[in-house]
Amino acid sequence: MGKRVGIIGVGQTHHAAKRLDASGVEIIAEAVTRALDDAALTIADIDAMVIGNMDHFENINYVDMWAVDGLGACMKPVFKVTTGGTTGTTVGACGYYHCASGLFDVVLAVGWEKNSESDTQAAIATCSNPALERDFFAGAIGPLATEYSMYMKAYGATEEDAAIVAARDRNNALNNPYAHSRQQVTVEDVLKSPMLSYPIKFLDMCPRSDGACAVIFAVEEKAKRLCAKPAWVHASVVRHDYTHFGDLEWTFMPTLERASAEAYKLAGITNPLKEFDVAELYLPASTCGVKWMDSLWFCEHGEAPKLVRKGTFQMDGELPINPSGGVISTNPIGATGLIRVGEAAWQIMGRAGARQVENVRKALATGFGGCSWSDVMILGADLP
């Protein structure tokens, strides 16, 4: 059996639409330096690195090689993993497996992106089949808009439900100095913002950002010695079952349902709504913050709007979601999934500052991307 692994340090950059002061290497170095500070370690303590981003946003081939200067990986083991939108959680899972395998004790996982360096829509469009889909590809917003209009028709969800989620995350971000956008927002402001692709409006949708996140994993013995309260990894599961955008099933989200069901089984979770104390979820649009709650087994299909309206997921609710402000407030795509893992870890480690939720014992982090690629990671204050 593998080793038990804990997160002992997290570092994030000040995310922004454009970080003119920081090149790709510098934005990586900023996150790594802060993660080392957070774990009170130096680069010499790191045994191996893993990095991820999406190539076509910065047009850099062999990013693991180019990033050595920023990672501090000269004369150290390093390689790259990348899976589109879920790159961040993929990098996190890879850091976990490095340690759990017993091959490395302390491992640095970094996700980064400088989306300001290219037209994000143009770069994302290249994910579709070049001969058969690319000319019609209209970005991620298409499927998200379609699935929510179907969900509204099927279960009576409303645009306002989505606006509640958007306002929740944007106002949470006011307590997060690293968030890209921090603006006081009311439900009405969201409903009145310009329509992007019915029913998703401007304030419902995530931005694109420059930013990086670094998370330090350590095997049990080291984690106990180096950190007062490590965030222990209880489960990491991925499901991706589609190769064409036309194959997606929109009434519900099978990959997230299968991945979360498997993760809950591994972590011994039977009632996620009750057992999780906080969740950092990859919600690229506020509509996902309504519909996808069904697919995380918080409730039956179609019940999510009731929970949203009841305030279940607000900071003072039963299960606070996205104290960090979530993806709607910050979205450096290669780092976004890892920011979820880092923020969930900080909540357990008690280092979430003004956005700290009381007494967090179990935290849920998810990643989303590609055509319906779903990652789920569960962290706990107690050893698994």
């Binding site: 454009k18 970080r19 003119l20 002061d21 920081a22 090149s23 790709g24 290497v25 510098e26 170095a29 130096t42 680069i43 076509h56 910065e58 047009n59 050595v68 200067d69 920023g70 501090g72 000269c74 400088k114 300001s116 360096e117 290219s118 037209d119 143009a122 770069a123 290249t126 070049p130 001969a131 690319r134 420059d210």
Partner: protein, 154 residues
């Protein structure tokens, strides 16, 4: 194996990926390129903890991950440590017409080599160990091509 494949004429889709990029030069290299552009000077930076001197300058020391915040002006001369005469042509990539010469120039005052063109000399005459100096363009825009090439020291 489906026998229907036998009478299929496989098509080829000719296409491109054409997305423009606006790379952020960042704090460390902006200083390097502004000095090169505006004052025609080549600067390096030095890591105070391990003494390594980098050109172009780095945000972090690659040996000890320290902050190399001491800046050192370089004379712009150096020694060819390796070179190659490129004889194939890639018009979209190569700013020079083949045959042209790349050289790794061990820069005086620094611990690293700078990759650049070797010019004002017959390609066949370039040798390892040759002493060279940077030749700057008159019109400079703040990138590595502000250096036209390195030429043999008189």
């Amino acid at each position: 194996m489906g026998d229907w494949k036998k009478d299929v004429q496989v098509l080829v889709h000719e296409g491109k990926i054409s997305v423009p990029y606006s790379w952020t030069v960042g704090s460390t290299l902006s200083r390097f390129y502004c000095e090169l552009r505006d004052n025609g000077k080549i600067w390096a930076n030095r890591c105070p903890s391990c003494g390594a001197v980098f050109v172009p300058p780095k945000a972090k020391c690659i040996h000890c991950y320290g902050e190399p915040h001491d800046w050192v002006e370089l004379p712009g001369t150096g020694t060819v440590e390796s070179y190659t005469v490129v004889r194939y042509s890639e018009p979209a990539l190569h700013p020079r017409q083949a045959p042209f010469v790349y050289g790794l120039v061990r820069m005086d005052g620094a611990d690293t080599c700078l990759l650049h063109f070797i010019g004002d000399v017959e390609p066949e005459k370039v040798k390892v160990g040759m002493r060279v100096e940077a030749v700057l363009e008159d019109e400079r825009e703040g990138n590595i091509l502000d250096i036209r090439h390195f030429r043999p020291l008189a």
